[in-house]
């Protein structure tokens, strides 16, 4: 098939799909949905935010596996780190790329502590209002990236056991907490009603830290050289 024919075919298929989706969206009959069911069980979930209740109680198993995907991406990205034999563009630290701008350098000392506070707040607030482990984790990750970008004395050393424990700790704790209910003959992830609130807050704490670490590790990659060396003499 020539390129022109392939272009036309793919464009037609994409258009047909979009049209089909629009048609479906317009013609969908109203279905009941699960909002009512979630609301009725919210009290038993141990948290007040419906989204958090779905993520960490009703469908906590989805979240557990999703953290597995995040960890997988980290492991996959680390596995691409070349040995000594190749130039390390695949994974070298972001901070060894273009020079950080003075604006950024001025900004970071103010920004990072604020971001840490926001991350902590989001984690804590997640049980009652919008917010939670993902939002907290992503803000934490963004703060760590900023910190790395600015070339402060901070780097992620993926070969260290401590770093790896940090990155996978959220998943491991979630797995362990999820297995505890089996002791009393309950299903995995079946939080007992009186403990569910505190269990969820603790799991979210672990997830916030690990998600932040994993996202930062994914963004900055593996430093090919210690960042200090890459950055020395760059600071204005």
């Amino acid at each position: 098939m020539t390129r022109g024919a392939a272009d036309i075919l793919v464009s037609l298929l994409a258009t047909a799909l979009a049209a089909g989706l629009v048609w479906s969206a317009v013609h969908l009959p109203a279905a009941p949905g699960l909002a009512g069911l979630v609301e009725r069980n919210l009290e038993a979930s141990g948290v007040e935010s419906a989204v958090t209740a779905v993520l960490l109680n009703f469908r906590a198993y989805d979240t557990l596996l999703e953290i597995g995907v995040l960890l997988l991406a980290v492991i996959g990205a680390l596995s691409l780190h070349p040995g000594e034999e190749l130039s390390p563009a695949a994974t070298e630290a972001l901070s060894s790329g273009p020079e950080p701008s003075p604006m950024l350098m001025w900004f970071v000392p103010y920004m990072v502590p604020v971001a840490f506070v926001i991350a902590g707040y989001l984690w804590w607030a997640g049980s009652t209002i919008p917010g939670g482990a993902f939002q907290g984790g992503t803000v934490l990750g963004a703060a760590l990236v900023l910190l790395l970008l600015s070339g402060r004395k901070f780097s992620i050393r993926p070969e260290a056991v401590a770093t790896r424990l940090w990155l996978s700790g959220g998943l491991l704790f979630f797995l362990a907490a999820g297995a505890v209910p089996m002791v009393t003959g309950d299903a995995v992830l079946q939080w007992s009603e009186e403990w569910s609130g505190i269990t969820i807050v603790l799991i979210e704490a672990g997830l916030t830290l690990s998600i932040g670490g994993c996202l930062a590790a994914l963004v900055v990659g593996v430093p090919a050289h210690p960042p200090e060396r890459a950055l020395r003499g760059r600071r204005p």
């Binding site: 989706l21 629009v22 993520l55 989805d62 994914l218």
Partner: protein, 103 residues
């Protein structure tokens, strides 16, 4: 407020079409990765936009939870894909797949 969700579902559907077309037709791998992300964003908008709501004040939290999960999965895969792209460029010097190379 959610009464207008249909508008966003339609926008999402169009984004899916645009993204998928570029995913298959654009040769540069960076564009392909962006296209996959555009498709994902469109899919998420469809997911929440068409989700059932029972007229109450509260939108259905289940699609929102699904999209939250989907966003984290999508950023994970994107990050890995970009690492793979850098490695591919490192090893082969190319930023596209051999069968799609434009001379």
């Amino acid at each position: 407020m959610t009464g207008h969700s249909l508008i966003y579902a339609i926008a999402g559907a169009l984004m899916v079409g645009i993204g998928l077309r570029a995913l298959f037709l654009q040769a540069h791998l960076l564009t392909k990765i962006i296209a996959a992300n555009v498709t994902a964003s469109g899919t998420f908008l469809v997911l929440v936009g068409v989700a059932p709501f029972n007229g109450g004040a509260h939108p259905d939290p289940v699609p929102q939870a699904m999209v939250l999960t989907g966003i984290v999965i999508s950023v994970s895969i994107t990050a890995y894909a970009l690492a793979l792209l850098r490695r591919l460029y490192d090893v082969t010097g190319a930023t596209d797949l051999p069968e799609e190379r434009r001379k």
